[in-house]
Symmetry: C3
Subunit: 371 residues, 3 copies
């Protein structure tokens, strides 16, 4: 059976499937204030994700996923074994920590070249842990206990987190409604005593962060929580998320930062966004180019806010207005074009020479193949 790559299935529960993705980005950053001198102004490009791995199942309900990204050496993304028994799924190993709707949806299926600013800013990442997912009809419960990212584990790192998410999805007059909420409590342990929140200007090929708290010292615990809502109604979809991150510090004020975004999209062709298991899935192109069709064409708009100013920490605020055009000629292949106007405030000297308030414009393009 072909799902982008052959999923080879054997008797009694065996299956195996190669997984890969090739994403290249091209970007242009303009309107940077003349007092700021950064190498990323103008054109930049990069390989955004080059991943390869394998996923499979075994008799008895066991499965595995082992994927690595080959940029900057090799970095493991998903690396776990799983056990499925009816509505219950247990996962041991490196995995996502139920951060939220957009973070949990594959980066192959996003509406823009990058996810909302807060998902990177608040340090969402995969971590090693033990999790359980339980399906209860329209409700889905997810929770787990995690240590740290596989590259940050050593015998002195005793940080750990408890993460949970609950989602509700139902059909109302053929429209899918998704509601969700997640909570994340992390004890930083004995070795970690600072946290830094920061974010790039929409495109990843630019390394400058116009918004950046720098290392917040004295950190002991991190508490974050988010709300999610989404609608898919035929060719139309809408999604909104908010997330708050609070750092508890020793004998210092405890700042709470905020990020959130709202987006709406529409397919110009007879297509729609897919949804399954509490996350968005890739579009199934109804008229692919190989068969004389035009592929799927989609436009999206987004407002994306990130506020890194609180309790004496001045990391800047970002209000971003974005539009994207996505062409999916066939399943597994996408071309994205994005425009973003990013307005920063409370950003004085966060980057050397930055004024208090300014804005930049970015144009981003991506070619994407995934399976």
């Amino acid at each position: 059976k072909w799902k982008g790559a052959p999923e080879i299935k054997g008797e009694s529960g065996w299956s195996v499937k190669p997984k890969g993705r090739v994403l290249y980005d091209f970007a242009n950053l303009s309107s940077v204030p003349s007092t700021i001198d950064i190498p990323g102004e103008g054109f930049s490009s990069e390989a955004r994700r080059l991943r390869f791995g394998i996923q499979g199942t075994m008799p008895g309900g066991f499965g595995y996923k082992l994927i690595a990204d080959y940029l900057d050496g090799v970095v493991l993304t998903d690396a776990y074994m799983s056990y499925q028994d009816g509505p219950l799924k247990i996962i041991i190993g490196q995995q996502n920590t139920f951060q939220g709707l957009e973070e949990l949806s594959s980066s192959n299926d996003t509406s823009f070249v990058e996810r909302s600013a807060f998902t990177d800013a608040f340090g969402f990442e995969r971590r090693v842990g033990l999790s359980a997912t339980y399906n209860l009809g329209d409700f889905m419960l997810e929770g787990g206990i995690f240590s740290d990212n596989i590259d940050d584990l050593n015998d002195g790192n005793n940080s750990f987190s408890v993460d949970g998410r609950v989602t509700y999805a139902t059909l109302v007059d053929d429209a899918l409604i998704h509601l969700g909420s997640s909570v994340h409590i992390r004890d930083l342990g004995d070795e970690i005593d600072s946290i830094r929140y920061r974010q790039r200007p929409l495109v990843h090929s630019v390394d400058t962060r116009f918004i950046n708290t720098d290392q917040i010292l004295g950190a002991e615990d991190e508490l974050s929580y988010g709300l999610e809502a989404a609608v898919i109604a035929g060719r139309f979809h809408m999604a909104a998320e908010t997330h708050w991150a609070k750092i508890n510090r020793v004998e210092l004020a405890d700042p709470t930062f905020f990020g959130g975004s709202i987006e709406a999209g529409y397919f110009l062709t007879q297509d729609q966004r897919e949804y399954k298991g509490g996350v968005f899935k890739g579009v199934k192109v109804s008229n692919p180019v190989g068969n004389g069709g035009t592929g799927a064409w989609q436009i999206n708009l987004r407002f994306d806010r990130l506020d890194l100013v609180d309790a004496g920490i001045v990391g800047g605020e970002q209000d971003a207005y974005m539009a994207s055009l996505i062409w999916t000629p066939v399943n597994n292949v996408r071309f994205l074009l994005d425009y973003g106007h990013l307005a920063y405030s409370n950003a004085l000297d966060i980057v050397e020479g930055a004024p208090k308030d300014f804005s930049v414009n970015v144009l981003g393009a991506r070619t994407q193949l995934s399976f």
Copy 2:
């Protein structure tokens, strides 16, 4: 044909099979003397092995194996091409150097989370070389000439070793008897002039070595040799190994160190250890959980000694008493639970603050999926 993953076979000798393993460890180290302050005390965890690669055969008797471990960047394990002609097998490339029964058996099939202390202490590793294996009925002869590990090769490293092993395996009243011996002679060459022997306390997630010779300077050659014996009688098995390692030094005394272990195990279920080609193989679960069975349950006991004290070198002695419980719900998946009481002597200040004699306790757990 499924062997954990599909082994795709074509006409006239073609075959190819993906290979992978996902091993996560969780450990607790306790009873460390209060004068020793190390980060690994208490709970620690790590991804122990995340490997992926490919193995195959071609017409004419040629084959290959190319496997990498993705932890700490990427490290090649087996990386060779082979030629098989009847009882003779020739291998060129990075491979094991016929070190001994437990080292040559896959780490997927061990009786404890880690192999006997001497296998790491004496620096057993894969090396690049040319080897031949010859099967003579009950006897098997293995030998080769090797340079160094693929990561240590450079145009100035002219170290080389000659390694050989002979094994004898026969059936006596349905019981398999294995006897073996190996010899290893290594010229360190012009660039390498020191050797260090050391070992972790049973679990790999703890980085402290309570037993450690530090760099032994003036080393020119290394001679090591070992004896092996094993019995598989139905659900019961026993295995014992000893190994001596001698360092020849310039104008300095030549120390000889010793390591050895003896273990016995018993399956609580109708299962048994497998053996083939001079090494242990994975259990073939007779009643897997997917078919209403309980999987295979096995208990093991081991005494493991390592003596790194000789000829003026005082690297400590370790006497370890261990027990393990292994659940293999289906072929290719294992869960291991280990307990170890490790008594150290002649260990004064090998770790800062260590008394001459002390002991520690460790609890180790592993989840394992391999194919």
Copy 3:
């Protein structure tokens, strides 16, 4: 369908194929002048290439290739997505830049263990870019615009190049005639201001470069161009290439360096070199060893010149005389034996202690498996 590995094909354009290669080299460097003290003299060995990846196609004409080399960490080679429509092929991502006949032919199919000296000396490498190939009967046009190698991309690297190649291939009395030419113009951008040309003595396991311009400062642009000619007539083949590389510098003289080689080869068995799409392909062994045959046996001779002396830059000259014997027992497996006599001039102190004129001898051997 087996092509070294199974090429799994599905309905409507799907296909996927694992790709790998295992190459080990063994070399001996002798006759080095006694005033030169280098570690690589005498025997050296290394894993030359250990690559693994995946290649596939999708409906609609889309395809991809994702290959990494696992030596020295992990280095991406081909990493691209492609689109084919009749005679036109478009590639986005890291790929070769149409450098020349021998560079574009796979290193699995070369006549010697290494390609001609100029191919490494002039810095031929894969780069990220957008390219198009167009087939016009006997003619083939290739061209593209490229940034830099994937490991050298960052948001300040704005170097780019335009690369083009035209080839003509036709049959004259059963003999294939290939003619080609390529041109390469590269703007080094704001961050790169120097270029270094250098080369090893035939075998890659020796790290010393007897010929080396060192960093040529003040470089702004690089212009290089080459000519190609080849003949395959039954068991006989001949190939010749020349390449000039010119560096444009700020207020400094602009040196032009030259490299070129000519080779002739003959199969002792009923075999011949293959050619397709403007490059050499691997031999299809007519009598493989598995079927009682002797495999393919080939001898080759080559003269290889590299001149790195011009406009005040004295990087040395190399005239190399080489012979090789290649045994291909079955498709996908090769054993190579090479001899080279390398005469250097204008090489005073390029390596510490080097006289103005001298020569060295090298013996190189390779075992190779690829699919």
